[in-house]
Amino acid sequence: MIPSVNERYTVSPFLLFVIIQSMQFGLRILFMAIKPIELAGQDAWISVLLSAFSIHLVIWMMYRILNHNKTDLIQIHKLFFGKWAGNALNLFFILYYLLNAAHQIRYFIEVIQVWVFPDIETWILALVLLLLVYYIIAGGFRVIVGICLLSFVNTFLFLFMLFTAPYFHFHNLLPILNHSPGEILEASRALTFSYAGVEILFFCYTFIKTPQKSEKWAHLANISITILYLAEIIFSLLLFKQEQLSTEIWPGLTKYQFVQFPFIERFEFIGASATLFRLFPIVCLCIWASSRIMKYTFSVKQSKVLPFFLLAVFVAVCLIPNRIGIQFVQRWLENIGLHLIYLYIPFLFIFDLIRTKARKTA
């Protein structure tokens, strides 16, 4: 019953670092600083650490479940809850990932429409992006991970933030701890969306060459993301007044305006276009995961299902009309992500424990 993956299609454990990092990173870095700072002010960095810690715990739980059952979540669902309920849960994940992909693409198009090409039509850009996504996914998991690795290079663009150093206001960081624990926790909650994405581990687990040994890479990915988020939050605090920040939409891009070269006047259009490299891994992984779930839930060919899923995402992208629509979808995804990570995964973990206990006694 357990689908084993041919070794030719597996990837080295350390690539899990890239997978999880690109899944969490996405386009969220552009706006992730606003809400936590709004809620917890200069203490937002504490929230980042809190979230990071809780995600480490979640990764640990995921590995306990996966290592124990030695298969991916698709089969675990069927194993735990039977065929019907398991398939229903799988269907939910398909929808979640498709919605996630649609949201990411629409968000990217929004960024492009605002920063680079105001007149570009949503559907034409979406069409080109999705055709490319098809080409990538048709190459299989290894190609997707290769694209993740390529996009990892984009992280170095982050170093350009150092150009902002002359404009830092260090007194923005003080006073420390003048927000209540409630506010800090609330900010942590808002940050969950930026950390969501680790659940891809459930689906790519069988594609790792030695999955048991890959745990440290998942944790390292989370650490690296935490460092990036901390830097982003602290840079935002140092550069913007809090009231100023609330009027910003993408502080991540605004910061590129500080970057100057002798021959490039405005760096932000490079920065905005380069978010493309962040978009592809996450969209490809999402659609790949949903098509794979489809394959094992309803036993259809992945290559047959893929065009339909891409079409669905395309329609969804075109149907999200404007910024309000994007934020509506985003709130939905935030809620789903929050419950997925802090309720569903611990629930699975406990369920697994009880199940094995019950089996031992029986």
């Binding site: 492009i112 680079v116 090409f117 493309l276």
Partner: protein
């Protein structure tokens, strides 16, 4: 001539087919050969005397008395035809006896070994492959002096019957790659194969890709080096090119001359080459993107230069770029098709006269002319001819994408090309190895060319059976051992 053995009924019509009859007091002998393929003098001096003896002779006795080693007795009609078509002489006794002596008296008429013309180098050997397979194998054998060098010959093509030789070193080359290679060559269904580049296209993993997945070279030293690394070399009779596989993308940007210079210089040149390739692909596309969409992105210091050079040009940037790129391609194509002396003249007339005139006539800007000329030059730094063609062609989608969506279009193009490269394989080996899948140990001879003390093992992505080239520890002892500062 009117009576000859049945075997030759297909050959009778050809004027270069000779079947001469030698009467003895027993059954007559028939000596048949193709005049155009054989060394007739050899035949007359050594073989015919064996037949013209007075006493009755059997075929076996003749066979023993022929003073040439490459001879056999065959009864298989197809084999006899095949051998005759390769310059063998056939001796039969009587009209009906199927037994035939086959003697190799093939004439080797071909070019002598000359200097490499495509992969020219300043230092190092000046020896290139020629059209004759036997000469080429001889050149390889002379460089790879080991009994474990294996040569497998396969015949391809119903009409051309081209001889293909697959060379590898037993005990080093991975058998999986070898089997893939042999099987693909055996599967070729085609009537005439005239050049190895045709074979190359037929056995490549993805024949629809513009990227070459096997490396063609005419340098014997490069082949010897690659064989010793565990790669497979394929040669064909009639083609002065050897193809090597499996290869990765990095190999196309390494010139064999890198190995002749000191490692620091070799590495710097290699890095320059890689940068120039990237420049060649992106430069004109970025020009189009910036001038069409991102003009505000250029610094005030830089803008006047571009504006003043473009002020009288009536075309939009993309048309300007396409005209110039096509002009360069035209010059190149014209230069290649003409004899080298005229080719140079074309280069001068086209490059200098046309270029200057185009700028003065405000058809193009100075600035663009510099970019296009530089990127054309940069595309020729690629040591492998096929790859430089690929890079020239690759520029155009980037230019068009830049026209459509500016920098975003270029980025989309980069991802598309990256995906394509990620999907490519060469005899089943990933094309982007050692960068993806990441093989840190295999990276030592990719972007830089390290010193020879580091070449102690073969690249691990070739999955060789024996990865040790020399012992790491004893290999270092040739330096003076007790040398210290100031002693």
């Amino acid at each position: 001539m009117n009576s000859m053995p049945q075997t030759w009924k297909d050959f009778k019509e050809s004027s270069d087919f000779i079947c001469s009859r030698f009467d003895t007091n027993y059954e007559p002998f028939f000596v048949s050969y193709l005049k155009s393929l054989t060394e007739v003098q050899l035949l007359h001096e050594h073989i015919l005397p064996c037949l013209s003896k007075e006493q009755p002779l059997s075929l076996e006795a003749v066979y023993r008395s022929i003073p040439i080693d490459d001879k056999e007795i065959s009864m298989d009609c197809n084999d006899i035809h095949y051998k005759l078509l390769h310059g063998y002489a056939a001796i039969q006794q009587g009209l009906d006896d199927p037994k035939t002596i086959l003697i190799n008296v093939a004439a080797s008429k071909g070019r002598t070994v000359t200097k490499p013309e495509i992969e020219f180098n300043v230092e190092g050997s000046k020896e290139a492959f020629v059209e004759s397979l036997d000469t080429n194998l001889h050149l390889i054998r002379k460089r790879v002096i080991t009994p474990s060098l294996r040569i497998k010959e396969i015949t391809v093509g119903n009409i051309s019957k081209s001889r293909i030789a697959v060379c590898y070193i037993d005990g080093i080359t991975n058998e999986q790659y070898l089997n893939t290679c042999l099987q693909r060559i055996a599967n070729i269904q085609f009537d005439t194969v005239t050049d190895i580049t045709i074979i190359q296209q037929m056995i490549e993993d993805n024949s629809h890709s513009i990227f070459p997945q096997l490396l063609g070279t005419e340098r014997t030293d490069r082949v010897a080096w690659s064989l010793s690394l565990g790669q497979i070399c394929i040669l064909m009779d009639g083609s002065p090119t050897a193809i090597l596989g499996p290869v990765n993308l990095g190999l196309f940007f390494t010139s064999y001359e890198d190995y002749f210079s000191p490692w620091i210089i070799g590495s710097i040149i290699r890095v320059i080459r890689i940068i120039s390739v990237i420049f060649s692909i992106l430069a004109s596309a970025i020009y189009v993107a910036v001038l069409t969409y991102h003009g505000h992105g250029i610094s005030n210091l830089f803008l006047p230069t571009i504006i003043s050079s473009r002020i009288n040009v009536p075309f939009p940037p993309v048309v300007e770029v396409l005209i110039m790129e096509l002009a360069i391609e035209l010059l190149r194509e014209a230069g290649v098709r003409l004899p080298s002396k005229i080719g140079q003249t074309i280069g001068i007339v086209g490059g200098i006269v046309l270029g200057t005139a185009a700028v003065q006539a405000s058809l193009t800007s100075n600035f663009l002319l510099i970019i296009v000329a530089l990127s054309a030059m940069a595309s020729f730094t690629t040591p492998v001819f096929r790859m430089s063609n690929t890079i020239r062609i690759l520029r155009f989608p980037f230019i068009i994408a830049a026209q459509v969506w500016g920098l975003l279009g270029i980025f989309i193009c980069i991802i598309a090309v990256a995906t394509h490269l990620l999907r490519l394989t060469s005899f089943g080996m990933p094309y982007l190895v050692p960068f993806y899948p990441l093989r840190p140990k295999g990276m030592f001879d990719t972007i830089i060319r390290p010193p020879y003390s580091m070449f102690h093992s073969r690249p691990n992505f070739l999955r060789t059976k024996n990865s040790v080239r020399f012992d790491k520890n004893t290999g270092k002892q040739n330096k003076d051992k007790d040398k210290d500062i100031d002693e």
